[in-house]
Every structure is written in C-alpha cells, then in structure tokens.
Subunit: 281 residues, 2 copies
C-alpha cells in the first residue's frame, strides 16, 4: 500500500492508472476509521481495480465552536485498518496544501445545505462540498463511496455531482451499527460509559418508527412525536427529529412514498446523527 501526501503526486498516480484503463474506487474519510468506513473500502475493493482512501480532517466543515481540534485522529491505526480492508493508496494531504493562504473558492449546493443539520451547523455542507469537489478533482475516481449514516451529506454530494457534471458515480452504502444498534461514528469515542449506554435509544426509536409505518401509520407528526418521546429521556438535547422528502429534504406531512427519518441529538459534548428510510409499501 502507498501513502501519498502530495496533491500533485496523487493526481499523477490517478492519471497513470486511467491511462492503463484502470477503474478507481474512492473512499473519502476524516480518518479514525471504523467498521462503517471499512465496509465502504471493502465495497470499493470488490468493484474497482484501484482503491484510494483519503484521510483529511477538513477544517472548512467545522464551525468555530465545533470539535475540529478534538476530532479523534490515529493515523497509524488507520493505515493498518485501511490496508487490511484492501486499500491500495492512502491519500493524506496537509491542510496547508489543501487550503493555501489565499484560498477563496467554494462549492455550494443551495437549499439542501440549509436543511436538517444545515440549520444547526451553518457552513458545514459548504465545507463538505468544497473539499469533496477538490478531492474528486485530485483523485479522479470512477466511483466514490459514502455511508448512509450521513444521509444528508450523501444526497447533497449526489446533487453536486449531477449539477456540475462531475464524471463519476456516487454509491451510498448501508449504515453499520454496533451490537446494540448505535450507528458507527468516529465521534462515538466522545461518549462516557453512561452516555454510550443511553445512545442506543436512537436506534430503538428508529425501529419503533419503522414499526409504526408497517402498522399503516402515515402521519409524520405522530411518528416523530413517538420518536421524540422515546429518545428525549436519554439524551441531553435534540437538534431535530424530522421526516423529510428524500430529494428536496423538505418536511413531509403524510407518508406516501419512501421518506427519510433523520435525527440529531446531543449526549454531553457528543452530537450524534442517525436515520432510517421509512417505506410505506
């Protein structure tokens, strides 16, 4: 496995692969890899000739009061995990290289970036689309893999790729969960033992929502109230519990087609997101 830290070298490597007719699968990450990331790498391994994993904690997607500095990092462990999952190249650029002093270009997917998490993390998705656009230009992948846990992110990136005619496919893979149902996240390390125990309530509530839909409940408000009732006692704060359209992320009142139930909550200093797709048929 190669580790490439230079943007220019990464680009040259990808160019060379393309000239040989090789297909590049790409998994962009912020490192501190968990089983969710590894499932993306394994999928990329199955479907491509070359697998590139980027590790870059992107300052542009963190708000000034958010956890950029304390975000967990462990390159050595990431290298081992990525290699074992079948990575060919880790792309590990420096912040200085990615954002030069006079950096001033941004990619924004309007509307979608302001909904759900966008309301609570202004500028977050602009940071995500800008860095992902840059990474796509450098790595030149044929396919890029994202996790369904960040459902809004995946929807926004798909839209960016469509609108800007980026020459690649986006694949969104299922959420990987801990035994008790908590969605895998690098941020789960922020939880203390009690919070970690309480955090499984999110999955319990999502399952309850799915059950209600199976029992023919179609009223979003009734479902989200039920979810709130289950989650509220075990968390410190709820940012949102919303049932939204899968394309425009706008609230849906009556569930007629598959919709996204998305949740963001706080346990102490740890903000967790999770979601499920509610299917009425």
């Amino acid at each position: 496995m190669k580790i490439i830290i230079s943007i220019k070298k990464m680009y040259t490597f990808s160019q060379k692969m393309h000239l040989k007719g090789k297909r590049i699968g790409f998994v962009p990450t912020m490192g501190y890899l968990h089983a969710g990331h590894l499932s993306l790498i394994k999928k990329a391994r199955e479907e491509n000739d070359v697998v590139v994993v980027s590790i870059f904690v992107n300052p542009l997607q963190f708000g000034p009061k958010e956890d950029f500095k304390m975000y967990p990092r462990n390159l050595k462990r990431d290298i081992d995990l990525a290699q074992n999952a079948g990575t060919d190249v880790i792309f590990y650029p420096s912040t200085q290289q990615m954002y030069r002093k006079d950096f001033k270009t941004y990619v924004l997917v309007s509307d979608l970036s302001e909904r759900l998490c966008g309301k609570f993390r202004p500028g977050h998705f602009k940071g995500v689309t800008t860095v992902v656009n840059k990474l796509f230009n450098v790595v030149q992948p044929d396919v890029a893999y994202f996790g369904r846990k960040d459902a809004q992110q995946a929807i926004i990136i798909k839209k960016m790729v469509q609108d800007l005619n980026l020459p690649l496919k986006i694949k969104v893979m299922p959420i990987v969960r801990e035994k008790d149902g908590l969605a895998m996240s690098s941020r789960n390390v922020y939880l203390n033992p009690q919070q970690r125990k309480n955090a499984s309530i999110i999955y319990t509530a999502l399952k309850e929502a799915e059950k209600l839909v199976k029992e023919q409940v179609r009223d979003s408000l009734r479902i989200s109230s039920e979810v709130k009732k289950i989650i509220a006692p075990k968390v410190d704060r709820i940012d949102y519990i919303e049932i939204v359209d899968l394309k425009n992320l706008l609230p849906v009142k009556i569930i007629k087609e598959p919709v996204l139930l998305a949740v963001a909550v706080w346990l102490g200093k740890c903000r967790l997101i999770d979601n499920t797709i509610l299917k009425p048929h």
Copy 2:
C-alpha cells in the same frame, strides 16, 4: 469538424481522446465569434492535438435586467469561423441540458467576484465560474484559453482552477482590437455608427495612461482622473475606471509593480469593458 450537443457524448469523446494520449485544448465561448475568439482557437490549434470550442450563451451569468435575450447569436456563421480557425469539435449544449429544473449547485470565487464588474453585475461571476466549472468537467481539457479583454474573468477562473485543484492549465491571450483600437467584443454590434466611432476613445485613454506611466507618473488617482477626462465626453455612463492589484483586484494607490487599469463604460445600451496592464518598469 464534429458538432456535439449531448453532454454525455462530449464527455465520452474527451475520454476516448485522453485514452489515446491526445491533448485537448478548449475555448469556451458564448458564440458570435470574432477575431478575439479566433486568436484563442488558433493558439489552441497550435498547442494541442484536439481543439474543442463550446458555444453556450449562459443564462446564469446575466442579471435579470441584462441582455441575455438580445445577446447576438449566429450558429451558422460561428460554425464556419470555428472550422476555418482549426476547430475539431463544437460543443453546443442546450440550456435545458446544462441547467435542469432542480439545478442548485454553484461555484463561487469569493472577494474577487465582488470587485470591478462584480459591483455592477451581482451574481455575474458566480454564473461564469459555475458554467466554466461544468464545461471543464464535461470537456476535460488539458488547457483552456481565455481572452485578456475579460481580465477579471481570467483572474477569477485561474483562482478557481488553483483552489479546486482542477487538472488543467489556463492560458490568457492578448486583447484583439479593431483598427481604431476598440477591443473586439460580440457586444460591439449593439453600437450605432456614432457610438461605434466614439467607442475608440477607450483605447485612446488607455494608451494615454500607459504614456503617463512611462513618463514616471506613479499616482493612480492622477492616471485614472486623466483617463476619465478623456473618456467621459464620449460615453453615456462610466461604471468604473480602476487601477487595481493583479492578484486581489484591490485598488492600488502608488504603482510599484504591474497593475491592472480596467474600465467599464456604457454607450447607449451597450456596456463595454477594456483594460491594460500598466508596467512601472
């Protein structure tokens, strides 16, 4: 010469060329080609294996009260001119294809887009960078050619390419002028005979500014006042006459290194821009 109207076919063509190791030179235009465009196409012909010229009047870069509808168009003439200048492919996509109904992704170069013309045409450069980004993704050029007449545009596009790590080079070619010095522009057809005659005053004033700098004048205000004095009697309105830094486009008071003298004026319904680089040494 090929005419390609489908985004997908354009992309496939470029991919095929790259796999053959061919170098693609690209000249993005809004059509109604003149000698300025043709100089770009000829340069692209000299330096590349394949020359692609796009013709697309981009609605996104026109304000609601601007001349999108009346902007001159003549595809038949453009095809002849482009072919004679050495074009291999004209890419002529439809607006519907470029901007689907739910289009919502924008590329913005902050700061630079708000200066000079940006003050008078809010949203203009956002429209330019968004469409040029799309065209680059579709055409996949190795080099793209722009005219120095749109100096701010060229500076902004270079910045976008640098910041987003787009894998291509931007080349900026000299302004091509009519015999009396008026910079070639598709919009010159808006001028009536009297306005057309008066319009040459812009070049006269730019030359005078160059002369002053040669005579060791370094005070920007003195130079721009002189330019204004020359131009004002022959035009209906002056949007700006500014002497700015070539990198950040901010006003320069004392000329110590090469700076941009940029001018935007109106003659009737025709807005003309022109510029020169003032070199103190």
